[in-house]
Structure formats: structure tokens, C-alpha cells
């Protein structure tokens, strides 16, 4: 990618006491791209995100937003960022609208029209004049999204944004984020535990474990064409398939072969003519979950690192 990244994380490290929570993490985020941020509990996702928005100071390293450092040029850089950190906490004794108004005053040049527009976008227009204390978690999430979008940010950073949304809400939220990313060219960074959600939402996935970035993958690359074939007797099927030059791995009761769809009828023919009974032939998608667990070694909680 030759494009200039909107967000650059450079050699970010955080040490609290003697623990190295984040170790030398570098990551670039690009315009119009949705990047998922995955990691087991305690891997340092939230710490990284807090450092990216200036809530925490990195021990070392810097975060640049559109070329400006969040550490030394806070006001200029943060105004391009929309943030939801964990649950969006609002002033419960004020209405949703008053909350938005309150936050909008801290930005430059947000008109009442813009507030109405955002309220419309997140579908809160019917309840916006009620107190936040009467809102459900899902509605608070929507309001949180509204406050993050108020100032038309170039970069959206969301920590667990779909927490508490109903399935329809999650779907709507996903569509909305994808729209914002593709139409407005916003870079989106989403951390979540919901792997299936990340898989549907993101273009790219960054995986963090024990404070280290262990992998960055494009979601498209994950989708290698694979088929699951279950035929009896097993030994015969293995013989035929590997004899035909397919890469074969055992899976469940049968085998997985890595191949394109056009080779499947041929493979079935071969099995039939060899006298095997075919019980199942189906496309197999390795879920992100499988890959995630593979990458993080079972996803156990990071061990404590003391030096």
C-alpha cells in the first residue's frame, strides 16, 4: 500500500510497574479501511486503544493521527478522532440530546443541524429528548456512536462497540460503519471479542497477544477455498484423494482438501469409480475463530510478565 496512512502507531510500549503491558507495537491504519483488533482477554487491546486516544501515556513510542502526534499535539490530532471506549458513559441525568449538545460544545463548529443529522443517522430521533437513565444499553451504544460521529472524524476508534446491541442493531451498526468507511473514507479501528462480528465487519484484522502484535491479515486472504469430503471407507478415500494430488488433512469424520470448486466433480467421480460411498461433500470455511485460536494458542489469558 503506497497510500499515506491516517493513523500510525510507532513502537508503542507501555510499562506499568514492572509489567510490560504493550511491547513495541507498530501499526498503520488506512483511509476507508476497517481494521479489527483481536486478542484474548488481558492482551492489551484496551490499553492500546487508550494510548491511541490520549487517555494513557505511552512509556515509549508515539501515535500519529494524520501526521500529528497525539502526545505532543493533542488538540489538533484528537479532533479528527471519534471515540467509543468500552461502554459509552453519558450524563444520566441529562437527555440524549443535551449530552450531544454538551459534547458538541467542546468541538469547533458543530451546528444544531449536524446534531439532528447524526441523531437521524443512528436512528435515535424518537427517544433523543428522554433522559439517558431511561435508555437501554443498546440505545446508549447508539448515542455513543452519535457522539463519536458528531465532528465528522477521519478516524473512528471503537472498543467493543456491539456490546449490548440486539441482532438487528448489530447488523445496522455494521452496515453503517461500512458505509461511513467507504463513502466518507473514514479509517475504522474496532476491537471486539465477537469474532464472527469482526469477520463480517472488517477488511483487515490485527491480532495482539501478550502485548505484542502477532499477526495482521486481510480478511479476504482468510477465505481459502476448502472442501470437506466424507466418504467410506476412509482409507480408500484418502488413497484416492491424495493419489489425485489434492492436499489432504483429516477433519471430523472425513477429510479436508484445499481446492477450487471446478475440481470437485472430478474428485467425486474418482471416489465413486473407486467404489467409495460418499456421505458428504461441502464447502468448508475455516472460521476466524479457528484461526484466531490457532494464532493465539488457545486464547488463554496472557501470563504475567515480570522482569
Amino acid at each position: 500500500m503506497t497510500e499515506k496512512p491516517i493513523v500510525q502507531i510507532k513502537n508503542l510500549s507501555k510499562t506499568i510497574g514492572k509489567k510490560n503491558i504493550i511491547k513495541n507495537l507498530s501499526l498503520d491504519l488506512y483511509k476507508g479501511q476497517i481494521t479489527g483488533f483481536l486478542g484474548p482477554n488481558g492482551a492489551g487491546k484496551t490499553t492500546t486503544i487508550r494510548m491511541m486516544v490520549g487517555l494513557m501515556r505511552p512509556t515509549e513510542g508515539e501515535v500519529f493521527i494524520d501526521g500529528q502526534s497525539i502526545q505532543s499535539n493533542f488538540e489538533e490530532s484528537i479532533q479528527k478522532v471519534g471515540v467509543i471506549v468500552e461502554n459509552p458513559e453519558m450524563y444520566k441525568y441529562m437527555t440524549g440530546y443535551k449530552n450531544l449538545l454538551h459534547f458538541s460544545r467542546m468541538h469547533k463548529g458543530i451546528s444544531k443541524k449536524r446534531i439532528d443529522e447524526v441523531v437521524q443517522q443512528v436512528g435515535m430521533q424518537n427517544r433523543i429528548n428522554e433522559k439517558v437513565s431511561s435508555y437501554s444499553l443498546g440505545m446508549r451504544q447508539r448515542l455513543g456512536l452519535a457522539q463519536a460521529l458528531l465532528h465528522d472524524p477521519k478516524f473512528l476508534i471503537l472498543d467493543e462497540p456491539t456490546n449490548g446491541l440486539d441482532p438487528a442493531g448489530i447488523r445496522e451498526f455494521r452496515m453503517y460503519l461500512q458505509k461511513v468507511a467507504s463513502e466518507n473514507g473514514v479509517a475504522v479501528f474496532v476491537s471486539s471479542h465477537l469474532l464472527s462480528e469482526i469477520e463480517l465487519l472488517c477488511d483487515r484484522i490485527a491480532v495482539i497477544q501478550n502485548g505484542e502484535l502477532i499477526d495482521i491479515k486481510n480478511v479476504k486472504e482468510l477465505n481459502i477455498s476448502r472442501y470437506y469430503i466424507h466418504a467410506e471407507p476412509n482409507e480408500l478415500a484418502l488413497e484416492v484423494l491424495s493419489g489425485a494430488g489434492f492436499p489432504v488433512t483429516a477433519h471430523d469424520k472425513g477429510y479436508l482438501i484445499d481446492t477450487e470448486s471446478q475440481h470437485i466433480p472430478g474428485a467425486v467421480n474418482m471416489l465413486v469409480s473407486a467404489g467409495a460411498k460418499i456421505y458428504a461433500v461441502q464447502p468448508h470455511r475455516a472460521t476466524l475463530e479457528d484461526q484466531f485460536l490457532e494464532m493465539t494458542g488457545g486464547g488463554q489469558i496472557a501470563e504475567t510478565h515480570s522482569k
Binding site: V53, R57, M90, H102, H107
Partner: protein
């Protein structure tokens, strides 16, 4: 930046004024059974009292000035038939209204302690600190809000005192006299009331700032409120305990009551107004420095 105040504040202030009201009722009824002294008797007593105090060789210069003034005023009243305000008059109540500011301190402490701490406990702090506004500006706006609250509540207190005085007692006869150092002249009781209120405000201000610091540092409003109010009551007692040691001169509560220079009641006689102002300013700077330093450096994990 606008800080939205909670509705509670109105309620606080409400109780506060009911209390002022109650105070007037009590004053009124407690007077009923008593045999009234004539103003001449009161003035004669005051003069005798002041002269007796002046015999004390341990008096500081300021106390001496004060009692000389008192004696002169009392003498003038008797010689020229100029009575003072009755205690049950609106004017005297206005002059004494500054005593009510200790209640303002109480409410200010509650606001000051909670204004930053509650952002942390509600979790809204992360919303606030991810705006394009530097942390020191946010803290400054919080502090200014607290002080505006304290000032408005003080003004309301004086105004309600005046109003309650007017309703319960009405405007009484009498003249307010001041000693300008060489002679006794007529003074404005409003100016006297405002002067005393402004001096009393120093204590609201410094204890409010202290509570603000505690709330910012510990992020717990209950701790900050508790500690501030505890110190507000015990701190002054400690002045008496420490009175024989040099350190008392640098102790905050020796200096919080600036009205002491105008009432002659000084637990530590050899301090001056200038010294008090300097000590208060130093404490203020320390409280502020601690607040700003912790607030702008803190890693927010709420």
C-alpha cells in the same frame, strides 16, 4: 465550556435558606422572654469591656487598635446619643450575615469534591478527555464552575439574610459607626456587611479548593467531602493546640478566618492580614499545583 449542574444543587441551596430562616425565628423567639437592655446599657458595657481588654499587656497591635476603636465608638454613642442598631433589626442581621458563610463552605465542599470525582465514578471522564480540549483547560473550567457556585451561593446567602431580616424584624433605628483610626464617623452597614462577607469568603475559597484537590487526586467524592469537612471542624481546634508552637503561623487554619482582624478575636495574636494572605496564597498554589499535576498526568482507566 459549560458545565451542566445537577438538579441537586438547587435542593441543597433550598435547605440552606430554610436554615437561615429558622435562625431568624429562633432569634426572634429567644428575645421574647428577655428583659431588654437599653442601648445605653449595652454601649456602657461595651466600653467597659473594651477598656478592660486594653489593660491586658499581651494584646497585639491589631487587637489594641480594635479595642481602642470599640471603646471610642461606645463613648461616642453615649456622648452624642447615637444608638447602635438593635440586634433584631434588618441592618444588624445584614452585618452579621457573614457568619452564615460557613454553611456556604459546606455546600461548596460538596460541589468541589464531586465535580471531578463524579466524572471518574460515572465513567464520563473518558468522554470528556477525548475531546479536542487540553486537560488543564477542562480542570480550569471545573474549578471556575465551583467558584462561581460558591460566589453565587454567598451572594444569595447575604440577600436572603437581608430579606429574612426585613420580613421578621423590619428596618430598625440606629446608626452604624466606624473608627477610622483617629475619629468616629458614620459608616455604611452594607459596606461593612460586604467587607465581612468578602473576608469570610477566603475560608470558603481555600477549603473549597482543598476539597477540589482531594476530589481530583483521589477520584472519590465521598472521601474528599468527608476529609474536607472533618478538617474544617477539627482544623480550627488544632490551632489552639498548636498555639504555643512556632509552626502554628504556617498552619492553614490559623489563617482561614480573615474576619479575625476585625473582630478582635484572634487565637494567634501576632499574625497580620498580609501574612495570612501570603499563607493562604501559598496553600492555594500548592493545592492547585497538585490538582493540575495529577489530573493532567493521570492514566485514565475508569
Amino acid at each position: 465550556m459549560e458545565q451542566e449542574n445537577k438538579l441537586d444543587h438547587g435542593r441543597f441551596a433550598g435547605c440552606h435558606f430554610v436554615r437561615i430562616d429558622g435562625h431568624y425565628q429562633m432569634v426572634k423567639f429567644s428575645k421574647m422572654g428577655h428583659e431588654e437592655e437599653t442601648w445605653q446599657e449595652v454601649a456602657a458595657n461595651q466600653q467597659a469591656n473594651a477598656e478592660a481588654m486594653l489593660m491586658d499587656p499581651n494584646l497585639s497591635g491589631q487587637q489594641k487598635d480594635y479595642y481602642e476603636g470599640q471603646a471610642a465608638i461606645a463613648e461616642y454613642r453615649l456622648a452624642n446619643e447615637v444608638p447602635a442598631f438593635e440586634y433584631t433589626s434588618m441592618q444588624q442581621q445584614v452585618i452579621d450575615a457573614h457568619a452564615m458563610l460557613s454553611l456556604v463552605t459546606l455546600f461548596t465542599v460538596i460541589i468541589a469534591a464531586g465535580i471531578v470525582a463524579s466524572e471518574f465514578s460515572q465513567g464520563t471522564i473518558k468522554m470528556l478527555l477525548t475531546r479536542p480540549v487540553k486537560r488543564w483547560k477542562i480542570l480550569t473550567s471545573k474549578y471556575i464552575t465551583t467558584m462561581i457556585y460558591a460566589i453565587l451561593l454567598s451572594i444569595l446567602t447575604i440577600a436572603v439574610s437581608a430579606l429574612a431580616g426585613l420580613i421578621f424584624f423590619g428596618i430598625g433605628d440606629g446608626t452604624f459607626l466606624v473608627w477610622n483610626g483617629s475619629e468616629v464617623v458614620e459608616g455604611s452597614y452594607w459596606i461593612e456587611a460586604l467587607k465581612m462577607a468578602a473576608l469570610s469568603f477566603a475560608s470558603v475559597w481555600i477549603i473549597g479548593t482543598f476539597a477540589f484537590m482531594l476530589g481530583t487526586v483521589f477520584r472519590s467524592s465521598s472521601l474528599a467531602i468527608g476529609l474536607s469537612i472533618f478538617l474544617m471542624f477539627t482544623g480550627i481546634q488544632a490551632v489552639y493546640l498548636l498555639a504555643n508552637y512556632e509552626i502554628v503561623k504556617y498552619y492553614l487554619f490559623t489563617h482561614t478566618d480573615l474576619t479575625q482582624f476585625y473582630t478582635g478575636f484572634m487565637p494567634v495574636p501576632d499574625i497580620t492580614m498580609t501574612m495570612s494572605l501570603i499563607v493562604l496564597a501559598v496553600y492555594f498554589l500548592i493545592f492547585m499545583a497538585v490538582s493540575y499535576w495529577t489530573f493532567s498526568r493521570r492514566d485514565v482507566t475508569a
